[in-house]
């Protein structure tokens, strides 16, 4: 049944203010969001063509009144942001789950239609706040595809260097918060401590720790700082050492293994059906990585492996992030050693504003600078979809241009948005403690979900 909310008498009672005035928060009713009709895990597995069952499976039937609906979130530390999960519990067992999102919706796709292409990365960088460089990269690549231009080699390599460092920092947060949700609090401190190294380098290069607006259509905003190799070398030296520490602490730890192995299984069939990409897909035995299969920004020149694990459980999804950090560091090292010389912005006067020095000398340069920053450059009509491999999966950007200097429609395909759909099948019929581990392993970033 389709509810059209435009006729207001149709509104659900709980969605509006109650007659006494104010929200009725004391009720434990399902609220305005109703749960779906019951669908057992077995049925979903038949639908998606898989028959693997989690080891912990609560089968016994109890009476209806022992079931209760609990809202996890929106403010709950283990939901990684303002994610609300409506969970139907039967004792300790989770029977049904419904993710309810939108608490962080800020209308960025609408805003994107009002900003010029040069202002666009400022907007998209705020979507997935743990991997902002990828958002800027995908927007810039799509704009460049529409403009049909190629950025200089140095800009490409700087982009690879920054995005791969960003993958390291993002995965470190995923490991840290994942550990925190399960109770390994030292992992949280460790993860954030090592991330700080990377963020310091970002701050030195771009001026900000998050929301950099560094990668822009036509290149990058600024060149790398002096002695940047020293900082990168330090990162390359320290992070592998610390990863060894994590392995010593967790890899052979029987508590960690017992807690995570065979928990929250997503089979490859479910991954394909629900469009789950990234580390979760690679932990389910599919060696799909856009960096290898559909390379972007010259990443095909780098030598690295794509780690693939077969176990499909939370442990594999944790492990694969550690392995991916090591592979990313390989790319960073090669990018550092083979950094080409030359301009870091495209030398196309239509796209790149003149350098600051020229403004004092030339009236034309001043006019040109003014035009690019106020009106923006025009982009030919057409549409383009470009995807990159973000730390959470395929991050795509679809831009429709009508020939003006602002996108007619800007859509970002966030990986977290799609991966969140797997929560009901991962969490159903498992203990609530495992459910928390499963959310952490999917690593949703709510800024990316709600946009």
């Amino acid at each position: 049944m389709v509810k059209n909310k435009e006729n207001s008498e149709d509104l659900d009672f709980w969605a509006t203010n109650s007659e006494e005035g104010g929200w009725n928060i004391s009720s434990t009713d399902e609220g305005s969001q109703k749960m779906n009709d019951e669908e057992s895990e077995q049925q979903i597995k038949i639908q998606t063509g898989s028959d693997v069952v989690d080891d912990y499976f609560i089968e016994e039937e109890t009476s209806e009144d022992e079931r209760m609906i609990v809202n996890m979130g929106p403010q709950h530390p283990s939901t990684h942001g303002v994610l609300r999960l409506q969970v139907e519990l039967e004792g300790e067992a989770v029977r049904r789950v419904k993710p309810i999102i939108g608490y962080l919706h800020t209308g960025m796709e609408k805003t994107g239609e009002e900003l010029t292409y040069l202002q666009g990365p400022t907007n998209t960088t705020r979507m997935d706040y743990l991997s902002p460089f990828f958002n800027e990269l995908v927007f810039s690549l799509t704009t460049e595809k529409l403009l049909d231009i190629e950025v200089p080699a140095r800009a490409e390599t700087i982009r690879i260097l920054m995005t791969e460092l960003n993958r390291v920092s993002s995965h470190l947060v995923a490991l840290a918060t994942g550990g925190m949700d399960i109770g390994a609090l030292s992992m949280m401190i460790f993860g954030f401590r090592e991330r700080e190294l990377v963020l310091n380098f970002f701050e030195k290069t771009t001026g900000l720790r998050m929301n950099h607006n560094y990668i822009r259509p036509g290149g990058v905003a600024a060149d790398l700082p002096d002695n940047w190799q020293k900082d990168v070398k330090e990162i390359l030296k320290i992070i592998p050492e610390k990863l060894k520490d994590y392995d010593e602490m967790l890899l052979d730890n029987p508590i960690w293994q017992g807690r995570l192995q065979n928990v929250g299984i997503i089979t490859p069939e479910e991954c394909l059906a629900y469009g789950i990409t990234g580390p979760s897909l690679r932990a389910s035995g599919q060696g799909w990585d856009l960096r290898k299969m559909q390379p972007y920004s010259g990443i095909e020149k780098f030598d690295f492996d794509v780690p693939v694990l077969q176990e499909s459980d939370v442990f594999a999804r944790w492990r694969i992030k550690v392995l991916e950090i090591l592979e990313s560091l390989k790319i960073v090292e090669q990018a550092m050693d083979n950094m080409p010389k030359g301009p870091y912005k495209i030398q196309d006067k239509k796209v790149t504003p003149p350098p600051r020095k020229r403004l004092d000398e030339s009236m034309e340069a001043l006019i040109h600078h003014f035009k690019i920053y106020t009106e923006g450059f025009k982009v030919p009509e057409g549409d383009a979809y470009v995807a990159v491999e973000s730390p959470r999966g395929e991050l795509g950007c679809y831009i429709v241009s009508d020939g003006s200097s602002k996108p007619f429609r800007m859509h970002v395909r966030g990986p977290s948005f799609c991966n969140l759909q797997a929560l009901p099948i991962v969490m159903a019929d498992s203990p609530i403690a495992d459910a928390v581990a499963a959310i952490a392993s999917l690593d949703p970033v709510i800024g990316d979900v709600d946009r």
Binding site: V2, E6, S8, I101, H105
Partner: protein, 136 residues
């Protein structure tokens, strides 16, 4: 690598089904474009499919008829289309037939209007400065 196909609404569901059988295992993206006063019909739904085995992408574009803004849902083919169709319903008001639960996803349930339509204003609030001299 990326092939674009334009499909009629009545062939849409069956065509997507045949593409799944052809080996496009994943639906990567489903969105819509509002061609307000630029094109007829007004709404266009854009679907992006990916084949892992063949390493191919395919973009399907479907024009949604203006009269009833209804298009079949493909959640029975790709379960992952669920959130995307809810988002398009929320943002553009396009109704997906046979969708398991077509409710708003990003906006509040009692929201009126569909924000990504071109005739929907961006909602700026005028700033009132304190002690500012009045103009008139």
């Amino acid at each position: 690598m990326n092939e674009v196909q334009h499909i009629e609404v009545n062939e849409y569901h069956d065509h997507i089904k045949s593409l799944l059988e052809e080996g496009y295992e994943m639906m990567m993206d489903l969105t819509a474009v509002d061609w307000f006063r630029k094109k007829e019909p007004r709404f266009e739904v854009v679907i992006n499919l990916l084949s892992l085995s063949k390493n191919l992408r395919k973009t399907i574009k479907v024009q949604v008829p203006d009269e009833n803004l209804t298009i079949p849902s493909i959640t029975d083919i790709y379960p992952g289309a669920n959130f995307y169709e809810r988002e398009v319903f929320d943002m553009f008001g396009i109704v997906f037939e046979n969708h398991p639960e077509l409710t708003r996803i990003l906006m509040p349930d009692d929201w009126i209007g569909h924000p990504l339509r071109k005739d929907y204003g961006s909602g700026r609030i005028p700033v009132q400065f304190k002690n500012a001299p009045s103009v008139d």
